[in-house]
Amino acid sequence: MRFSQSIAPALLFLSGVAQAASSWGFDEGRISVVAKKGGAGVKEKINARTPLSTPVSLGSTDTLKIALTAKDNGQGKRPHQAFLVLKEQDSGLEAPYPLTVKESGQAVVSISHKDLPVQLLHASKPLKASVVIGSFGSAKGLNAPVFDVKLETDPNVPLPAYEKPLRYGKKDEIHHIFKADPKSPPKVISLFFAAAVLATVPVLFVSWVFLGANINHLSKAIGAAPLSHVTFFGSIVAMEFVFFLYYTSWNLFQTLPVIGAVGLVTVLSGTKALGEVQSRRLAGER
């Protein structure tokens, strides 16, 4: 205190020289951080010309106290407006704190975490503190950055939740994620197994021949019931052809009547053709 009183005249002189027109300023600017449990906090002097180079830390239970003497052209005087403004650097959001000013211009304000709006508590960068002093009349106002405040949050105490208010604007793009297309195994493997399956046909034929299979009764059967045998065997082949057409191009409603017709032919010709086969069996030829 004594020290600041001793330099006050010097400061007065300086400001008087620097600003010839009537203007607002302050001296004896002091900030202190007082911890709740007592103990010596940080104490710094501030002035309007050079802001403090290092940010002031403010713990969640600490109180930041700012005291200064507002002066109009070096004379202690009460200004109408004496604010400490805290600014969040990213959004530019500002919170003003009016100082309690006496007639003599002595002004003081204390700020703790609970006085800060929730948006400022969530700030990632230090808050910029500036002093705004102005009043009616012709005296020029003062708007000077003085120091930075770094908010120290207690990790054990969660910050009050802040939800951004809804604002109309563009939203994030959404692109639908499609399900993956079904995949086939490598073609070589498919071809190998298809060949393996097809190979069973010759194997079957060869083993039949080996067991003595033949079509020696064909001429006999055709001779006994030529029409029935040709149509019966033909209808079995035709039925497979209908199934092939169903697979390639026909729909069910095209297929069903044709199946009915072919089936009828099979039944009618089959009774005679199979009757002939039976007669051969009864004759002991099979």
Binding site: H80, P96, V132, D172, L198, T200, I215
Partner: protein
């Protein structure tokens, strides 16, 4: 040429209609003043309104005949409230009636003045939409850093502000576009308001960082209890309801007075500037009365965008994974004509394809081939999601200072029909199975032939005879 007189008569009628229909919602304006004679001090502003085709009616709050509705219909399309000294506004202008007026698509331009305390009815109405006024219904905004030294050298209550730029980079510049560089807006003896967090509220003009509001009666010596300061203080605020009805709160009625139109003001640094007030008043009233920032959807079209696909416009049904194209044509109104709407620079028009929640949200691009000077088309092509159901093509374009637009076109999206899948022979994994069917068919036919036509082998015959 028998028709030509008739045609010209219709053309004349049409022209007459065009001249009278200035706003998109109507031209009947009710101005409420303390004393009808007061309108003389606003003569330029009111003259500008009449010049744009509005029909003005002047009433005092005490008037018996004053009614916003008649037989359930709006009698006026727009209302201007000039500051009135009466504490209440009577039974014809209760907050409830004003809310009804907004609900019925009526627009309100309300002005405040720091010398006159705001009627209770209007304070309650404003709090209904989320605008808060100073507690004692009056306040004065001062700024010791930017004021008019020629008219308020001592009191600092004539604020000089740059013409208001949009509050966000993605908002259309409706109010300061085209302003000369050295023009300033004079905001004399106004009241600042604090806006709630509603998304329908937009500050058109914010107070400068160093300005603050105080009560001149109680806080003339020192500001102990601050209502609001800096950018938190909204000097001109806009509220747009979901039905696009608009409410503008202008903190300073004096801004509209003749003496501030094209006046000369001096900044504290000694430079003299012309005021932007006349143009600002024109644009502000035009916005409030639906002459600016009004959007119209001309047509919407969606169709299949596949080679060889159906060319039907707006079909009711699509299949999953279809490629489709969506196009929307928009126009924007400005004073007397519809013109092509261009999306503001940092903004995007987005299409959502949604069932309950959006599956796609895609930007719509300007489509020159379907656009004209009167309408601009925006389109996007995309693949429908692989999910069947009832979907909406939805364009939900709600932006500050533009009328709300929410367009929904419902379509069914069906799943794949059985014959729309790739055939099994093109799927390599199916080849062994197809080969299996071929083997079975061959085997079956061969077996039938064998069963019917095979003669018993010679040695088998002997054996069977033996057993018999």
């Amino acid at each position: 040429m028998m028709r030509s007189p008739l045609l010209s008569f219709f053309a004349f009628l049409f022209a007459a209609l065009c001249v009278s229909a200035v706003s998109t919602t109507g031209n009947r304006v009710l101005a409420i003043l303390d004393d009808v004679a007061e309108k003389a001090i606003y003569s330029k502003f009111l003259g500008d309104l009449e010049g744009r085709g509005f029909q003005l009616t002047f009433e005092t709050p005490k008037s018996e005949s004053l009614a916003l509705f008649k037989l359930g219909e709006r009698v006026y399309d727009h209302v201007i409230f000039f500051p009135t000294k009466t504490k209440g506004l009577g039974p014809n202008l209760t907050p409830n009636i004003l809310v009804q007026f907004l609900n019925a698509n009526g627009n309100i331009l309300q002005t405040l003045s720091s010398g006159v305390s705001t009627p209770n009815s209007l304070v309650s109405f404003l709090s209904e939409v989320g605008i808060e006024l100073p507690v004692d219904r009056t306040g004065l905004v001062v700024d010791h850093f930017s004021y008019d030294t020629s008219s308020a050298a001592d009191s600092h209550d004539v604020l000089l502000l740059p013409p208001p730029a949009p509050i966000r980079s993605d908002i259309k510049n409706l109010f300061s576009a085209g302003a000369a560089k050295d023009q300033v807006l004079a905001f004399p003896r106004g009241v600042g308001a604090v806006l709630g967090s509603s998304e329908n509220l937009t500050p058109i003009l914010r107070a400068p960082r160093t300005a603050y509001s105080y009560n001149p009666k109680e806080q003339s010596e020192v500001v102990d209890d601050l209502f609001a300061a800096g950018q938190q203080l909204s000097l001109v605020s806009a509220f747009q309801a979901l039905n696009s009805a608009r409410l503008v709160l202008l903190g300073s009625a004096e801004l509209l007075q003749d003496k501030w139109f094209d006046a000369d003001v001096t900044k504290p640094d000694g430079t003299t500037h012309k005021t932007f007030n006349r143009e600002f008043a024109k644009r502000l009233s035009a916005w409030a009365f639906q002459e600016l920032g009004v959007l119209r959807v001309n047509w919407i079209e969606h169709r299949l965008n596949e080679v060889g696909g159906s060319n039907e416009t707006n079909p009711g049904i699509y299949r999953i994974k279809n490629d489709v194209k969506y196009t929307i044509s928009l126009s924007e109104y400005a004073y007397d004509k519809w013109s092509a709407f261009s999306v503001p620079k940092n903004d995007v028009l987005q299409l959502e394809f949604s069932m309950l929640s959006p599956f796609h949200r895609l930007p719509l691009k300007f489509d020159e081939s379907h656009s004209s000077p009167e309408a601009s088309a925006y389109s996007v092509s995309f693949k429908l999601p692989d999910q069947h159901g009832i979907f909406n093509f939805k364009v939900n374009y709600k932006r500050p200072l533009l009328s709300n637009m929410e367009e929904k076109n419902t379509v069914s999206v069906r799943h794949m029909a059985h014959d729309e899948w790739p055939r099994s022979f093109v799927i390599s994994g199916a080849w062994p199975w197809i080969a299996g069917i071929g083997a079975t068919v061959t085997g079956w036919i061969a077996f039938c032939a064998l069963w019917m036509y095979s003669a018993p082998p010679a040695d088998y015959k002997k054996e069977s005879k033996k057993t018999q």
